[in-house]
Symmetry: C2
Subunit: 121 residues, 2 copies
DNA sequence: CAGCGTGTCAACCAGATGGTTGAGTAAAAC
DNA sequence: GTTTTACTCAACCATCTGGTTGACACGCTG
């Protein structure tokens, strides 16, 4: 397949951790763009955007389709879906856990905030 | 509130982009741990784990509760939930879009793979 | 063919990241 | 009161990151 060298969650989350890259995904979800089109909104060099695209591509979030000199970029949803489902596994817990946690914290509230605070914000 | 200085998606995704930190969350989702307990599985110094915990805390994924000398860590689900919902917005698209995309790609398949390949893997 | 537009690659830089060690602090145990 | 335990903080280091610039490759257009 040689899909992408590492369809890893680490790469995916790292790709998502940059606002520029998330914005790019936001553009691509509407319709495919070529790289040049992506540059305008960002006040950043073409090369910088190209690098971001490469990061997204490595993470498997974006797919290139070469059309003449243009490089048309498509959103590739598998990676997003992977990340979504990874988080979904936690969702199973957090609804029920929040209740448990709240109960627990309520119990231990009296002794919850000890004094040992030197420089903790 | 002073919840955390930046309940930002960037921080959250960045926190999730490290396998050690994801593993820590995996331990915390079962039950709260103190930091010392987290160290064992990782072959890494206590301080390294402590730093990871701090990263998770900054991202709002983890909450500290001081119990004597121990620092009990709870999973804090809001951040995970935020990330989950951000991705969920894309899920609305990708189910329908995949169909559209596939149709589109099927149309343009004949000219989809041009020759311009010098050093592209 | 020459020139332009689109994009890649490599080199470079400042700052962030992930790890280490060592010193210090505070509560608990002796 | 001394020692242990659990943890924090600061300094340090190598590597990664996100940006830049400049040179180059490819395909389209005239």
């Amino acid at each position: 397949m040689v899909e992408n060298r590492k369809s890893d969650l680490s790469e995916i989350f790292h790709a998502l951790s940059d606002p520029t890259r998330r914005a790019i995904l936001g553009m691509l979800v509407r319709r495919p763009h070529h790289i040049g089109e992506l540059v305008a909104p960002f006040d950043m060099s073409f090369n910088a955007i190209s690098k971001h695209v490469k990061t997204l591509e490595r993470a498997g979030l974006v797919e290139r389709e070469l059309v003449g000199t243009f490089c048309k970029l498509h959103l590739k949803t598998k990676g997003l879906s992977d990340a979504y489902h990874w988080l979904g596994a936690y969702e199973l817990f957090w609804n029920e856990r929040l209740n448990k946690l709240e109960a627990l914290l309520a119990e231990s509230k009296p002794s919850t905030k000890p004094k040992r605070q030197k420089s903790r914000s």
